[in-house]
Amino acid sequence: MNEVLASGLTDFLDDAVNLQVQVDAIGLGAIFALMAVGIGLVFGVMRLVNFAYGQLIMAGAFAIAFASERGWPVAAAIALCFAVVLTLSLAMERVVFRPLRTQSAAVMLIATFAVSFLLQSIALLWFGPLGKTATSLVQLNRPVSVGSVEIRKIAIVAIVTAVICLTLLVLLLNRTSIGLHMRAAAIDSPTARMLGVRANMVSTVSVLIAGALAALVAVLLTVQYPTVTPTFALQETILVLAGVVVGGMSRLLSATLGGFLIGYVSGLLGGALPSSQSQYLPSLLFGLVILVLLLRPAGLFIRQRGLVERV
């Protein structure tokens, strides 16, 4: 028994340090990090957890599928994806987020929960449970050989995209006046407004950036999972939400790190666990999430203030 266990562990460790598994895991982590930024940015500015973020990605994926079924060029498919997701984000901000700005976090969470089901059921009504296929970018899913290992191009694309986007975002937040306004609103919204930061402007911009990231994620995910169904990106969003809370929602950086971490761990376990056990992967991940939340409720990457709730 012990030998079996030991050999299983060695196999697991061998697989875990395998370059291919590592790159795939980092690639997944990169996509999750982009989603985490989208969720964390809106949370920072509006104190709103956007449960419907996954459905924005789903809508973008359907846009790509729509374009690819009609044989549109790749650029047009991506443009349509951005247009759909950004329009939807703006509409969501105007119709749902803005009227609820003064409500408690729980009310806003329930509202976005409702919106997410609304969008999902509309997609179900429109496209059916089997969904559509997005084939515009599948060639990116092919592997390239680096030395002795084969790495899927999409993993590299995802990592590069994430690095570029995060750099741009850091520049925007730190070097422009709208970035300054956003940071001010995130730290103390009422004071920021008293000093002349326009709340509507700031929330619109953050929702637009989050939307653009959702569109990007839609492009990246459709390459790996070309079958677009109404539940597209749902599982991923749930994991990212968990990751963001685990990392610590009160700062964008810790939220992003949390998102990356849960993607990386999920990719690593998914690649390294034998298939007989990988069906329990969600349990393992959620178990880890609960454990971290119990040990560090404010977040893994947040300096702790003690367990007592501040009132």
Partner: protein, 342 residues
């Protein structure tokens, strides 16, 4: 006077549920299903209300307690000779035990309650977003295990040969029992302490209430009732693991929020209102003829309408249809006001 008001607060939801039960007895066999579903929904939503409504803490995890109730009652009440066919990998003691209707409901409730207690012991230390995500994680784990662990149930398969004992009478009695339990709890010392922590945690703590203990007690009771509701459900229709996951979580939370999450009356009204709406839309999906006009909506519209209404209620009236208040007779309330004025 206070006894009178308390009586009204209890009787209003009970009478509403009984009325639904009696109404269900006069409709056709095909439509009776809608009434039974609605009554089981009342049990489920009131079970969730016991924790979410009284504590003010959002829980996405209650359907896990419902699900273990479904599993406990389902697995234990399938006749022994049927078990090897549908559930070949079952633990021996589960395979060789078969219990009757009422014991299976009690076991379902007990399993739900114990599970909630065990989950609550660590989780109730959390609050806010961390609590929300953690309860969600519990739901994810429960679903994952029930889906693949075939020693405790049918796994991905649909339950079959569970005796269909939940009829209109049982569903009504079940809903009334759950309402009575919720009412007794919210007027008890424990319930009032928990409601105090919902209104003002700092003040509640200052008068010596342990938020953690009150939440655990309520969570366990809530899980107990949810398990019971799950037992009622599996004795009504054969379902599989997908029926007790995100969709059910959403629809039950929607019912609670639409009705008004902070009152028992709101939970009951929300459950019945959304169920009624859902039934009418389901009929329309098959083509419903009203006064000679056939209304036909595409199938799948139900969830669109329900989620749109939920979003609308949250935006326009966040406290729900009932305003989150208990039912009160206007003249009783007026008399009380004049008494107070004197």
């Amino acid at each position: 006077m206070r006894v009178g008001r308390a009586l009204v607060e209890l009787l209003a939801p009970v009478l509403l549920v009984v009325a639904a039960g009696i109404l269900g007895a006069f409709v056709s066999q095909a439509n009776e299903i809608y009434f039974i579903t609605a009554l089981i929904s009342v049990s489920t939503v009131v079970a969730i209300y016991v924790f979410v409504g009284n504590s003010g803490v959002l829980s996405f995890g209650h359907i896990s307690f419902f699900a273990v109730g479904v599993w406990a009652a389902g697995v234990l009440s399938i006749p022994e000779q049927e078990k090897p066919a549908t559930m070949p990998y079952l633990f021996d003691f589960l395979g060789s035990t078969t219990v009757g209707n009422v014991p299976s409901l009690l076991i379902a409730a007990a399993v739900g309650g114990v599970f909630a207690l065990l989950v609550g012991l660590p989780l109730m230390r959390l609050s806010g977003l961390a609590a929300g995500i953690a309860t969600f994680a519990v739901l994810g784990i429960t679903n994952n295990l029930l889906r693949y662990y075939e020693k405790i149930g049918p796994g991905l398969n649909t339950f079959s040969s569970v005796p269909e004992t939940t009829d209109l009478v049982q569903a009504t009695i079940g809903a009334v029992l759950v309402i009575a339990a919720a009412f007794a709890y919210q007027r008890s010392r424990l319930g009032r302490q928990l409601r105090a922590t919902r209104e003002d945690p700092a003040a509640a703590r200052a008068v010596g209430i342990s938020i953690y203990r009150q939440r655990i007690a309520s969570f366990a009771l809530s899980g107990f009732l949810a398990g019971f509701a799950g037992g009622l459900y599996i004795h009504f229709i054969p379902i599989n693991v997908d029926s007790v996951y995100l969709d059910l979580t959403f629809i039950t939370l929607a019912m609670l929020v639409i009705g008004g999450a902070t009152s028992l009356w709101g939970a009951v009204v929300g459950a019945l209102f959304v169920s009624a709406l859902d039934s009418v839309l389901a009929e329309m999906e098959d083509g419903l003829t009203v006064l000679g006009v056939t209304i036909d909506v595409p199938s799948g519209s139900r969830i669109v309408v329900v989620s749109a209404i939920m979003a609308l209620v949250v935006i326009v009236r966040p406290s729900g249809l009932t305003g989150g208040r208990e039912f009160a007779l206007p003249w009783l309330a007026r008399r009380r006001r004049t008494a107070e004025a004197k």
